[in-house]
Symmetry: C2
């Protein structure tokens, strides 16, 4: 069933009103009166609705059932990734991260970044739209936020608020991902930090250790910067029972 996110205030008295971009999307999908859609308030509640009017500018739908969205994982995961070079990789992390269950996706600049971090704020609107599309498509109950945190020090400030912090690093002394995750099955929030193409500098891994993060290995295969966050997120979702 097609899914849309709408502001909660557009549902009143058992009727949902869709306008603007959402009404246009209904038209593109050729939905007509009689068809069913799911409207999500973006806070974890789904409204199953029956379209009664589908005009160019406005769609009206009758609320048939209100249910909690089952697709939201029990753990809120923030992916924090060194900004990759090239929009394609960045957008890939956003799309696949949202599908795989991330609640927030953040990019930052670190020592070995080859991407220029000139005005990444300008890209946020596009990144957020990709997150919304992926959330619709995968049936999420929220629209994950995409944001930019400048430097690695700001990343650590985000990480400090979470139950678990994983810092993926390719060299040196590291904990096994399995041993860290096995003892973290009941966490409610987590941060996964992955590097840009060039990985992290040793002092960056030392900093991560200093703020209490688990510096982890994902085995001997070298994962691309856009693959590592999705593989790590999948393992975390699996181990916390959110892939079943």
């Amino acid at each position: 069933m097609p899914k849309f996110f709408i502001a909660g205030t557009n549902i009143r008295g058992g009727m949902a009103i869709m306008k603007g971009r959402d009404a246009e999307h209904v038209r593109v999908l050729r939905l007509r009166p009689g068809d069913d859609v799911i409207l999500c308030d973006g806070e974890g509640t789904d409204y199953k609705c029956h379209i009664v009017l589908a005009d160019r500018d406005e769609v009206q739908a009758e609320v048939v059932e209100i249910v909690p969205c089952k697709a939201e994982p029990s753990v809120s995961v923030t992916l924090l990734c060194g900004l990759p070079k090239g929009n394609e990789k960045t957008e890939y992390i956003i799309q696949k991260g949202v599908e795989a269950g991330a609640s927030e996706i953040c990019f930052f600049h670190s020592t070995y970044c080859v991407a220029k971090a000139d005005e990444p704020e300008k890209k946020l609107e596009r990144w957020q739209r990709i997150a919304e599309e992926a959330a619709k498509q995968s049936g999420r109950g929220i629209i994950p936020s995409v944001f930019w945190t400048g430097e690695l020090a700001d990343v650590f400030n985000v990480v400090l608020k979470k139950d678990l912090g994983l810092f993926m690093y390719e060299a040196g002394e590291r904990e096994s991902l399995n041993s860290v995750l096995e003892s973290s099955r009941s966490i409610r929030s987590a941060a996964i930090v992955t590097g840009p193409e060039g990985g992290f500098a040793p002092f960056e891994a030392d900093l991560a250790r200093a703020v209490g993060m688990h510096v982890c290995s994902m085995g001997e295969r070298i994962l691309r910067c856009e693959t590592a966050p999705i593989v790590a997120l999948s393992a975390l979702m699996y181990t916390t029972g959110n892939l079943s």
Copy 2:
């Protein structure tokens, strides 16, 4: 250290000889006498070498150390995926599948495929090259094979030879991925079957059950056809201790 795959016969008497495309690749990477490379025989053995001659057509390197390639997972996983519409998704599955540790990647045609399966054999050469590039880049010890199996019945013939068969399905009665994987930690081989954009028809899931596959859910989030195999593979690699 840059990695290349070469036929085992090109290493003789402590010297490795690279020609053709590999010699060209050495030139593109601007490697010179004195630089080190890893040459892999594609059967799990790495030869650490020191370049002594780098001509346009031939590169000679002295073998310094012979070591088993640590990047090969303990379980040989075959990904079998309904052919997606669009080369991008197909190539994405190959690249990310190889990075994440798949040993074979196979595409097939099933009821809900929207992609036309006209002469997919013609694409095999390109697909295999993508697998080789990904194997080099991620430091694999083998070049995973990419193949085409026609129909779903042929897929089941591949699956029957494996220790574990997972069939990812979006509806109906399914086992939890966690419960299946928890009891499969010591498997040596596995097959993961995922559908095309439209998923599988109910009778296809029934067939999978009939041949003894585990028909599994990956939770309530709807994964794209190119995302599902990577997420499932990551969970399998994690649970068999191949992500640490």
